[in-house]
Symmetry: D2
Subunit: 507 residues, 4 copies
Amino acid sequence: MNAILPPDREESTAERWARFRPIDGAEAYVDSLRGRAVTVYLFGERVAEPVDHPVIRPSINALAATYDLARDEPALATAHSPLIDAPVNRFLHIPTCPEDLVLKNRMQRRLGQLTGTCFQRCAGLDTISVLHSITYDIDEAHGTRYHERYLAFLKEAQRHNVIIGAGMTDPKGDRSRRPHEQDDPDLFLHVTRRTERGLYVTGAKAHMTGGLNSHWICVMPTMNLSEADRDYAVVGLVPGDAPGLTYIYGRQSCDTRALEGGEIDQGNAHYGGQETLVVFDEVFIPWEHVLMDGEYEFAQAMVSRFTAYHRASYVCKTGLGDVMVGAAAAIAEYNGADKASHIRDKLVEMTHLNETIFSSGIASSHEAKPLASGAWINDEMLSNVCKHNVTRFPYEIARFAQDLAGGLMVTLPSEADFKHEEAGPLLAKYLRGRSDIPVETRTRMLRLIENMTLGRNAVGYLTESLHGAGSPQAQRIQILRGMDLPRKKAYAERLAGIDVIATDAGD
Amino acid sequence: MNAILPPDREESTAERWARFRPIDGAEAYVDSLRGRAVTVYLFGERVAEPVDHPVIRPSINALAATYDLARDEPALATAHSPLIDAPVNRFLHIPTCPEDLVLKNRMQRRLGQLTGTCFQRCAGLDTISVLHSITYDIDEAHGTRYHERYLAFLKEAQRHNVIIGAGMTDPKGDRSRRPHEQDDPDLFLHVTRRTERGLYVTGAKAHMTGGLNSHWICVMPTMNLSEADRDYAVVGLVPGDAPGLTYIYGRQSCDTRALEGGEIDQGNAHYGGQETLVVFDEVFIPWEHVLMDGEYEFAQAMVSRFTAYHRASYVCKTGLGDVMVGAAAAIAEYNGADKASHIRDKLVEMTHLNETIFSSGIASSHEAKPLASGAWINDEMLSNVCKHNVTRFPYEIARFAQDLAGGLMVTLPSEADFKHEEAGPLLAKYLRGRSDIPVETRTRMLRLIENMTLGRNAVGYLTESLHGAGSPQAQRIQILRGMDLPRKKAYAERLAGIDVIATDAGD
Amino acid sequence: MNAILPPDREESTAERWARFRPIDGAEAYVDSLRGRAVTVYLFGERVAEPVDHPVIRPSINALAATYDLARDEPALATAHSPLIDAPVNRFLHIPTCPEDLVLKNRMQRRLGQLTGTCFQRCAGLDTISVLHSITYDIDEAHGTRYHERYLAFLKEAQRHNVIIGAGMTDPKGDRSRRPHEQDDPDLFLHVTRRTERGLYVTGAKAHMTGGLNSHWICVMPTMNLSEADRDYAVVGLVPGDAPGLTYIYGRQSCDTRALEGGEIDQGNAHYGGQETLVVFDEVFIPWEHVLMDGEYEFAQAMVSRFTAYHRASYVCKTGLGDVMVGAAAAIAEYNGADKASHIRDKLVEMTHLNETIFSSGIASSHEAKPLASGAWINDEMLSNVCKHNVTRFPYEIARFAQDLAGGLMVTLPSEADFKHEEAGPLLAKYLRGRSDIPVETRTRMLRLIENMTLGRNAVGYLTESLHGAGSPQAQRIQILRGMDLPRKKAYAERLAGIDVIATDAGD
Amino acid sequence: MNAILPPDREESTAERWARFRPIDGAEAYVDSLRGRAVTVYLFGERVAEPVDHPVIRPSINALAATYDLARDEPALATAHSPLIDAPVNRFLHIPTCPEDLVLKNRMQRRLGQLTGTCFQRCAGLDTISVLHSITYDIDEAHGTRYHERYLAFLKEAQRHNVIIGAGMTDPKGDRSRRPHEQDDPDLFLHVTRRTERGLYVTGAKAHMTGGLNSHWICVMPTMNLSEADRDYAVVGLVPGDAPGLTYIYGRQSCDTRALEGGEIDQGNAHYGGQETLVVFDEVFIPWEHVLMDGEYEFAQAMVSRFTAYHRASYVCKTGLGDVMVGAAAAIAEYNGADKASHIRDKLVEMTHLNETIFSSGIASSHEAKPLASGAWINDEMLSNVCKHNVTRFPYEIARFAQDLAGGLMVTLPSEADFKHEEAGPLLAKYLRGRSDIPVETRTRMLRLIENMTLGRNAVGYLTESLHGAGSPQAQRIQILRGMDLPRKKAYAERLAGIDVIATDAGD
């Protein structure tokens, strides 16, 4: 286990920021991750330099695309920050009007189109968005000064153009017990010690999207807390290379294809997602980077507002959906089947489902409401409706894509066979479709569809769509809470002539 | 057949408007429909005074609710008209920003909640909305002065606070033939004669929602037209009591329950929809009320823009959906079953589907675009997506409502039996559910659900949801046109390493 | 209330049967219902002769079709009864092999095709089927002689070729209370008195399908019972005209169209369903017609076996589904749209759904199991699966039918307007579609689709499909009980290498 | 290319059979595949001994399970063959009554439960089943003696207890061209030469399930043929190790996990499917093993009957569905969530869908019809309905399984990390759920669900369910052909009073 830091090792915020140089683009971003000496395990080995690992690199590329987009489409992917009076990457911009949220959604869809995977930066944005109002509200209630600290951190984050990751999901252990009731207190991340300069936390954050690719991790509670869980009510900012952190990389379907040498069988060789288990062993956080410490009664609001933001962020999947529609249309064309009415009809259905998701996400942004702090937040009902559609429609879209792909998608030999001197020519001869489409082109498109429906990015397109930002039942609970049955029953009773009209039938 | 009007009977626009007094509320609206001497057939008889007919009156009440709402919730149901510099009913207001369309949607949902039926005024609004830009565009192309005429008419309409009905759907006859190819030229409404003062039209408009309840009918083409169809390319305004008009009333499921004396079995005794076949026999339109005459090439744009507006108007069905959710929740409660997890789950699903419709409608309004005339129009893709969801989800919601209602909904004896001296007490004894809920209350709620899923307002909630503003396939065709496959294929090809990345794989 | 019968009025079984003459066909069946002096209320009036009532007659015709089919297709609709060594109507034949159940299903589908409605005779067959084994099992447990009585009754029923109705569903009152806990003891039918010659029952049976059209009503418990409910554990046979019975007729959507004079607007003028509330006021049953009296512990088995039979009987809806497919195909043809690929595709989908229902019903019959009494019973899992599909697919099929019908289905004027001297020619002119299809033909088909999706037979095709033989949740509970998770978990654990393979990994 | 065999190398059927020893069980089966010197490519290398290849072996194990089952459950997995008057593996038994097909379905479901994958033997059984009637019918038409040859082969196959693979799907090239119109004649397998002793074929068979694991491959046409395609109308039997054959192995999602050393991450380490491309280069077939040569007009019947058999064979997926239900129930239990009502409800839905598939498959077998040859064949409509449900429901079931699994399924670190001395204890600490369930147990179950929904056996459970035995549209075409609209339209017209009743309205 990690030795406790000696007091003189307890870093100040200035020392922490001193380790970062402002990032001016994708290349600088990739460089910024090098040489961090983080502890990372993958496939049973400690990874010396994650940036160069073939399995990890595509996930870094996906994040790098957020820098490229800020350069290439600044109207979409940057915003003017009043905090530092300068343009910042939109992933570091607090929404203060519906348009901010709408543009965020458009940017998310665009990045989905560009990467075909999870680009891992939304949860961080949604975290800083929710902390704007939560720190404000705690201060209002308790006279604390979290919001000031928050703004100070955010300004630096904007100046340095860093990636912030969201450390939210605790392992949870026995789900029938509250945090303080667990056999092992570490099953929820908690404060172990407080010193003059800061506090220490121990625990873990599971399913941490892009954890290893982030400069900062914001830890925060994963559920509502009671008074007895006070030490679990902690929000704080931790550099990704802080002492005491260990990353264990989550494997994904077909991940090792990246180790095989070729690129075709990967389907999408350039981009991938990343999920990590991040273990915190007595990790120090200076007070200036602590944004909640014991105000357990705000945990529920934090989670609820976070999901209002984050469930609308799943509109990103419509960008992946655009890729699916495009891939299905392309393979139908390569197969010479694109004129068939049932093929066109399936493409229409895929589009209809994809745009339905988009509409519920974008509507929740357009219908945003202001909070006391000045930040704006997505309409909660529509945001939940968006995410709930995301738990369903990508699966249907994926099935249609597989339908249009044809069975060859899962019976294709490996790239190496295509390149083999004896097998290759046979494949070239027999796997030819339309004579004007190279066999490799058809193969690549099939592998992309495999990638997104069974392979590495199926994790992002399907399973993450199901469970990210809360599993389907979590949305149903929120819809249940928000559906206001008394009001609707009153409509029905009035029309049925019960009470109101019964006593008022003269009109 | 109608005799041709003698020239001295060819009314001027001033004469026409002189027949109307400004309408200041629901009561005045109902009065305005009295004594019009229109020719109306219903159940094989000519109806002397439609306003007092028990079957027709509920449809008038539904329209009257649009006046009440303007009084009760002016922020929602009125708007400031720059044309007359005064507040007008929102159903007479041309949208000139997304917010106008958004508020229109909210008003539509509200009216759905208040009436539980089709309140018949949306198509008219969408007609005047589309004519703003179409008249403008024709003038730009042809140097005509339709837009000026249009504005003049609209000002009067706003001042008089009238109902405008949309006369769009021609009978169409043999669907494989164009208008001018039909055996009977009248199967599409067309110009038969032009005089110094105006023109004459003959034909019919089918499925005309609220036709009989409108002060003015705007006739317009129902589909794209060719040069040979030039006489069919006519847009004009006709008073609802113009000589030459005949209305034949469409019957609806359970319509005659309104004739039975009681109100319970009607389910929703106060409100209903209305569909009429309106026959035009040499109906005169003065030039000042002609807004298209021969510019056939604009027919397609007119239809396409009209559907962009009108398909989003189907967000009204979410108001009816709110009533369905409320009715289902109420009956579950009356049955003592509202705590069961499967009941709650079905209410959540109904809400989720209903809000999904809402989100696609409201999103298409938030994402509106401006046209050259200054009017704004719904995003076409999302508007089609909205309507396409409307062709599906109300049927599912209705099924859930019937599920929660229980079988009693379709085995309930008649209201007269409940009141019968011998049968009544038996029913009171045996149809009791929870002891604190009167049998009549339960009966009324069951009849409301029957009304909306099988009865009179099922026409509006279900079948009209399917076919109004175009049957499902019409939306699929629009989605097909708008789905931009080349762009999406390019996304997929890029990610699959085809072309772009193939030659650029070094990064 | 009904005076208690004087002891000398307590009929013997012989006296009861003496009132019946063997029925040799549909005509004799209709005659057998005449002059029975039953107490029937409909629309607030006592009906003098139900057979001649225009609303009631179509429901009698539907039952009469079961006699016609026995004449026209005896291989399908009759069976050899070993009890009387003669052919009997299959609706009176106890299944003693899977083939009996399969032929029953085929007959049910056929009658659905012929009547387009609920022909009301299945529940009676399923009742006598279940009583075969239940009386046998009670006798085995208690040494009673119910089975002998049962067989004696059944022989007479077969000889007289009568209709037996199932009186199962009690009103139930407050659903959170058991029968003996209700405020009003009559909310479940129960024994009030026992005499030397028989017993008396009081209560009511709700939703009784074809109640008024039956010669005999078999009363039986509707749910599992406890010892305290002993007096509610009664099964007995009651002639439809027994003293003390009152029928209150359930109204249906559009029922009064049968009173309007024409036949077109009825859609299906000849056939309809029937649901009645039957009130029992001290109704006498002689001991020889009592088949359970106090053996409360068999109530659950009775209900469970009844549903195993009856849920498969809902395969009848595939006959109605065939009519829907046919109607949709016909109207598409009349509209000139039958060649469109999306139309054909919808017909395929309707057929696919309909045949899926059929397959689950017929499979449950083919997979039948024998009971101790010698009767065979449907596979319970598949029977529930059949019914559960019936709660869903007819709604989808109906939606497709409405889709193909077009909006005219709900905007058509009344039959009387078509016949009106002025309105009629206008309708003939303007509602013409393909020139070779008479307007009346098109109208009739639209009215049939309305009838089955919104009108009178929508009750049978839709709502009864949802709630008959148990609402959806009832099937889910049975599926839950039968799904045998331990066995399936063992499959998964073995494949996952948990336990079994973990210790056996050498191979 | 393969040199043409010298005439003295043209084997006789006796020489061919002499290479096989009767197989008495799973072990002998595996041994029979050793040392065959077949040409196999996988991952760009020629595989020396496929039996020992870690990726290939699980697919052999799955086939071996068919031998084990014959030993363990002979009533299910064997049948008495009248041809050799001895019990044979049911996979070699020609169905001559519905019960044969029903037992086949039960066996298929059982093997699905036991292997959780495609056990690759159904297509071969369906091939010999269809050839029984096709050879018979050709003989009847042409006076040939194919049926005699067929029976002779089948007897030997039964005596030797061999695996027969179905070589059906040609590569097809440009799908808009018929076989003889292709640029490359080999894109459909065809006869290149005929000698005194037999004929030679060249071409390829794609997606050949279990190709490499079969002792014999039966080549046959993949679609209807015209006279000009006469040389493509060939059916013949080829030993799996015949000169001129080359196998190129299809890769599957996550296939290389079998190379990693552990077994946990494979999910189902013991069983897998297999798809191969089999290239035929001048492969000789002696006349006695030729069962069609030029009778092109029978190609369509062959395909159509084959699909009638084979589409019902997809009932095997209900066995995999049982595993999915079990796995979902198990993981819910391990997570401590199995009592939640929404969890139970999802398990019910999964079961309902799975049993719906089963019912349509088993129904098509129960409803089988006899052919002239004496073989029986599945009901074609229901068989297509079965397969069409298989193209949908497994995807829904898989989604539910992922839902119940939770997100951990796709963020789990690798087996090697669990075993790592530093990472392992951290994972043991933090991935604990219920304290009585070992972390490895939970991990294994999650990996099984991943295996079946994203990994290797997702190919068999999902994509093969979509495309095997014909893609969805192929079933829709068959349903279209079989749905008999004229009959159904007549039902509707009769009820609507069109024609029949119109002239017969007196009753």
